[in-house]
């Protein structure tokens, strides 16, 4: 189904996406796929030695990747113009994150929409915030 600029209202929420629980196997897969072989994400002994008491932490870019999944499940990839995040907390194996978003602006000239996004863990702690911009086609 095509998504049009006219279908979007300021304040409208992006369909929520729940991801996880993250696990260590996924970290290994992501390391191999992305090329981020920092052992902080795959080696508990290493992670503990550098101060992560609970062991490995999830790649920030994996979490951002799941936010990209949430966005492009709603707004087709071809309309996405800008996507940025700020990492505000560490995600760990066992965490489940919920990604939500909201339209905060619409610019009729050019069909630009701006949305805020947030990823929270199962306790409500914010792990990432961000925003994206997309240019949607008009029905006219």
């Amino acid at each position: 189904m095509e998504l049009y600029f006219e279908d979007i209202q300021v304040g409208q929420e992006m369909p929520q996406l729940v991801k996880g629980p993250f696990d260590k196997l996924q970290h290994v897969m992501y390391a191999g796929a992305s090329g981020d072989f920092n052992p902080l994400h795959t080696d508990d002994d290493f992670a503990k030695a550098v101060g992560m008491q609970g062991g490995v932490i999830t790649h920030g870019m994996l979490v951002m990747g799941t936010v990209g999944q949430a966005i492009t499940a709603w707004v087709p990839k071809k309309y996405l113009k800008k996507f940025g995040v700020r990492f505000s907390g560490m995600t760990k194996p066992g965490n489940t994150i919920t990604i939500t978003g909201k339209v905060i602006d619409k610019q009729a000239s050019g069909g630009l929409i701006t949305c805020e996004i947030v990823a929270q863990d199962e306790t409500g702690d914010v792990r990432l915030t961000g925003r994206f911009e997309a240019v949607l086609p008009s029905k006219n």
């Binding site: 920030g60 990747g65 999944q69 071809k78």
Partner: protein, 149 residues
């Protein structure tokens, strides 16, 4: 303190051939089952020339080239105190399998900040503009590296 004299410095270009299998691996690891990334026919039906690279694909050339690590060492940033603070992409064109993209990492800014708790941090922004084999800009990546003191 990161070396402020290096603001504006450019590093060796990252040259990366985009493979269909790498796109599949990346969305597989993310758990993104959107068929456009793995099925060319569906992607074409949805208005793409082929399966497009997903939104965070540009982490792949950076990580496999070791380019960010090179910058961190050159800027005399303490690697064990580094946090990935922010990541942002601007998209100008789709990136497709078979494209050869070239990105030039550049030190955009180096700023010192003090957190609410009084801790000082260096904020280093690295920008990479990527062009494809036709010389067309496809995307820009901006990475904020935070060095805790």
């Amino acid at each position: 303190m990161a070396d402020k004299s290096k603001i504006g410095k450019e590093y060796a270009p990252i040259v990366w051939e985009v493979e269909r299998g790498k796109i599949r691996e990346l969305v597989g690891a993310i758990g993104d089952q959107n068929p456009i990334y793995i099925n060319r026919e569906i992607a074409v039906k949805e208005g793409y020339k082929d399966s497009p690279a997903p939104p965070t694909f540009l982490t792949v050339p950076v990580m496999f080239s070791g380019s960010m690590a090179t910058a961190v060492v050159d800027l005399q940033i303490n690697f064990t105190m580094v946090l990935h603070g922010e990541e942002e992409y601007e998209y100008y064109q789709e990136i497709y399998p078979g494209d050869v993209i070239t990105g030039v990492p550049k030190v955009k800014s180096i700023e010192e900040k003090t957190s609410k708790s009084g801790r000082t941090m260096d904020m280093v922004t690295i920008e990479i503009m990527y062009a494809n084999q036709r010389g067309e800009n496809v995307a820009k990546a901006r990475t904020l590296i935070v060095e805790r003191k």
